[in-house]
Symmetry: C2
Subunit: 115 residues, 2 copies
Amino acid sequence: MAGMSLDPQIAARLKRGADGLVPAIVQQYDTGEVLMLAWMDDEALHRTLTTGRATYWSRSRGEYWVKGATSGHAQHVKSVALDCDGDTVLLKVDQVGAACHTGDRTCFDADELLP
Amino acid sequence: MAGMSLDPQIAARLKRGADGLVPAIVQQYDTGEVLMLAWMDDEALHRTLTTGRATYWSRSRGEYWVKGATSGHAQHVKSVALDCDGDTVLLKVDQVGAACHTGDRTCFDADELLP
């Protein structure tokens, strides 16, 4: 049925890892902050494109994960792009509250290696 | 010998994939543009931290890759951070010229899926 799975023209360009996933870089659309990295399979990308809510595959829990469904810290999708190799997604979102489960705004705030 | 491999305190926090690699998000430090995603093992991260030149593991060529070594499009490292899970690196760099091998400024310029 139309609309039930990822557009075949997009699916044909996706280069998935051995686990069937591609990394998704998540960026705050207006400030440019990199918020987090998550993982998508075809279905997660399809849901993200069609619902406007960032949806990932949780490798630790083995299930789809609508960001903010439990925390309220939703990501409203502004744009989605594939990279030149088709093996990475860049998601620009409007993040509600903290992106990180620790309560930090981004997942990269706590562990600076350099400088 | 000291300084010959990745700091053990950093190595202990790194959570590598089955292939021994972690994804590295590469961002232009002043504009916030996400330039590309590449892959690092411990040695690539060590070289990046100690040389100030972004260095990756090329999965396609099976070798270390100093960004710009052949193209001249070097990445001068401004900061490096690990995420909350220790499984992703965020590299802020000053990119010389185009980041993408296609000649585009970033690897995400050519294939917008949404809007």
